[in-house]
């Protein structure tokens, strides 16, 4: 099975599961068309499209195999995926840390660490990352809290 077929299966499962959940939606007697009708139509449509995606992938794979070749994938450096993964990981950690450390401390840490991880591993770059992080957070703080009066999250730590 190809990627599209797997996606089709997952979406079909999702649509069937959500369709079952529509039974939980309260349906008042005073309306002729209940709040469950429209989601059911959409879920039916998604299920149909998922089956079509699955079928199209299976048919295309047969055809491609017959022609003796698949679609050429773009060659992407392995380090690129590492960077993407690292960014998601650090951003998840940053989001979790904001309520604890507060916006300022969490953001300085996040900006400095991520920019250091994505750049060259030298002392000069590390200093530059810290500098960028402090200047950026100071500018954001002044702009949002000082000028726009938007209170940024505070942490629970003193």
């Amino acid at each position: 099975m190809g990627r599209d077929a797997i996606t089709g299966c997952l979406l079909l499962g999702l649509s069937l599961w959500l369709y079952r959940q529509t039974a939980e939606i309260p349906r008042p007697h005073f309306v002729s068309v209940g709040p469950d009708v429209y989601p059911r139509i959409l879920l039916g449509l998604l299920a149909g499209l998922s089956v079509a995606l699955l079928g199209a992938d299976l048919l295309n794979r047969g055809g491609r195999r017959g022609r003796g070749g698949g679609r050429p994938e773009a060659r992407i450096h392995r380090a690129s995926y590492r960077d993407v993964f690292l960014t998601y990981l650090l951003f998840g950690g940053y989001t979790a840390l904001i309520p604890i450390l507060g916006f300022r401390a969490a953001t300085v840490s996040f900006v400095a660490v991520l920019s250091w991880c994505l750049g060259p591993k030298t002392v000069r770059h590390a200093v530059l990352c810290l500098l960028v992080a402090f200047v950026f957070v100071a500018a954001v703080h002044l702009m949002f809290e000082g000028y726009l009066r938007l209170l940024l999250p505070r942490g629970i730590l003193p």
Binding site: R3, D4, T7, L18, Q21, T22, I25, P26, R27, P28, V31, S32, V33, G34, P35, Y38, P39, L42, L43, L45, L46, L49, S50, A52, L53, I76, H77, A79, S80, Y81, D83, V84, T87, Y88, F91, G92, T95, I98, P99, T107, F110, V111, L114, S115, W116, L118, G119, C129, V132, A133, F136, V140, F144, Y147, L148, R149, L150, L151, L152, P153
Partner: protein
């Protein structure tokens, strides 16, 4: 009408609005110039700064970003040879060769002046078109609205780069996201799973910023190991030119300018098609009508004038659809619709008649931003050449933090930042699985309206055939079917070896 114009103009000329608009143009020029940072992303990043502003000031700032961004992309396209934004792809075809031939100043300013003239010319249909179409749309019933929104979704899905099927799946997912939370008619909770946060549904902007900006940024991270082209003689290139000579050169190609403006305007009116299609189509048309088609791509002014006038006209076209129907012309106007909603304004046919001061203020802001772009770009050109070389390792965390602030600031909830993060991952997975993002965004924007109009139509008259038998509604549905048929035809032609290239439908 003149009174409304004067009121709108006087509001935009007030120091606070004027300065915000100019700051928006600067942000747009900078964002558009940095490769990998799209205009949509720039608008998203500027958006939280507008939360504390009054509606006109906020929207004027975003219009400034939108208009400035189109010209920002031109600078990178000319001097780096890579498009700063998707809407300057075809600009590189002639602007970069001209710059390499030792005329970078001429290449940049031909584009700037063509953009200014194209933008101003397109401003006239913007005002007339938006007002006329909005008054026409006031006569629509729920059947017509429903069918119009279906037509919009079908156009976007069938123009998807990847496949019609994936475009439809993405659009359906976008629609499904809008059913989470209380239903719009009686407030019954749907798919909330006991969560108080989900009762109000997913916050539109947090989803949009995640699915678009976060995912786009990750794509840029992927590409960075492929090597960055060097800036063309950034320190030494002479950008000094005679503006009078350049303006004369643009006017000498009045037919090209006019045709490309119309192409840009038309593409802009089509929902969610975006500037990249306008840019490429205008270039293609200029080449077809030219007596020296063989010289295209060697650095001639024709290609630059065509692409840049189409780009700026495309902005006006997008604003027409947004202001008349509340339908985004592209991803940037999708964000602007979100911004208007945050400011308590529902874009749609009633918008111009109920908020004329704001509507005419927006028209004035468009014209002013178009005019302001040229002197601001002239002042910032050298600075922009430095800004485009800011390394991605600094841009990524800064943009992510601004995105997080934008999501948080919607209603001061950390849960919005988690939503931003979750949809950032979903958007990336979708991009990797080759699902187009524009249909999802459009589904997200139109979802509530589609449901409300569908239910209203059924509750008013239970006969579903009315969707087909009412003339306008039927026409919209026939056009939807034609759009699907066209999409299938294009897919088949593309499947043939050596067939059509995929059309570019981006935000």
């Amino acid at each position: 009408m003149i009174d409304l114009w004067l009121t709108g103009l006087s509001r935009v000329l007030q120091p606070d609005v004027f300065l915000s608009l100019a700051a928006g143009v600067v942000a747009g020029l900078v964002g558009g110039a940095i490769p990998g940072i799209t205009i949509t992303m720039t608008v998203i990043l500027v958006l939280p700064f507008t939360f504390g502003m009054d509606p006109l000031q906020g929207v004027a700032t975003l219009i400034g970003v939108y208009v400035g961004g189109e010209s920002g992309g031109l600078i990178t396209a000319t001097l780096l040879g890579i498009p700063g934004t998707a809407s300057t792809i075809a600009t590189t075809f002639d602007a970069y060769p001209m710059a390499r031939k030792g005329e970078p100043g001429r290449a940049v300013w031909l584009g700037m002046w063509a953009g200014l003239l194209g933008g101003l010319l397109a401003g006239i249909p913007l005002v007339i078109g938006a007002v006329t179409l909005a008054s026409l749309a006031l006569k629509f019933g729920p059947w017509e609205y429903f069918s119009l929104f279906v037509l919009t979704l079908s156009i976007v899905s069938s123009l998807s780069e990847q496949s019609l099927l994936k475009g439809l799946v993405a659009a359906t997912l976008g629609l499904l996201l809008t059913v989470v939370g209380s239903d719009p008619l009686i407030g019954a909770p749907r798919f909330t799973f006991g969560s108080e946060y989900l009762r109000t549904g997913f916050p539109f902007l947090a989803v949009l910023v995640g699915v678009y900006a976060f995912a786009q940024l990750m794509r840029e991270l992927e590409k960075r190991h492929e090597g960055q082209p060097r800036l063309l003689a950034a320190g030494s290139a002479s950008l000094a030119i005679s503006h009078r000579r350049i303006i004369r050169e643009v006017f000498q190609q009045w037919a090209n300018l006019l045709r490309s403006t119309l192409v840009g305007l038309w593409i802009g009116v089509l929902p969610a098609v975006g500037g990249s299609a306008a840019n490429i189509l205008a270039y293609d048309q200029a080449k077809k009508f030219s007596r020296h088609a063989e010289r295209f791509g060697t650095g001639i002014p024709d290609g630059i004038i065509a692409t840049e006038s189409a780009n700026n006209a495309n902005v006006a076209g997008s604003l027409i659809t947004m202001m008349a129907f509340g339908i985004p012309g592209d991803a940037v106007s999708a964000v602007m619709i979100g911004a208007l909603i945050i400011h308590g304004i529902q874009p749609g046919p009633l918008f111009i008649s109920t908020k004329p001061d704001l509507a005419y203020g927006m028209f004035s802001a468009y014209f002013l931003a178009t005019v302001l772009t040229v002197p601001i770009a002239a002042g910032l050109l050298r600075l922009l050449l430095r800004v485009v070389s800011v390394p991605l390792q600094f841009l990524v965390p800064v943009i992510l933090v601004l995105g997080a602030i934008g999501a948080y600031a919607i209603n001061n909830l950390m849960a919005n930042v988690w939503t931003f993060f979750f949809f950032g991952m979903l958007g990336y997975v979708m991009v990797k699985c080759e699902f187009p993002i524009p249909p999802l965004i459009l589904g997200l924007i139109l979802g509530d309206q589609i449901e409300v109009n569908f239910i209203r139509a059924i509750m008013t008259e239970s006969n579903p055939l009315l969707f087909l038998t009412r003339p306008l509604s039927g026409l919209f549905l026939i056009l939807s079917a034609a759009s699907f048929a066209w999409g299938i035809l294009q897919m088949r032609r593309r499947a043939v070896p050596g067939g059509l290239p995929a059309p570019s439908v981006r935000g």
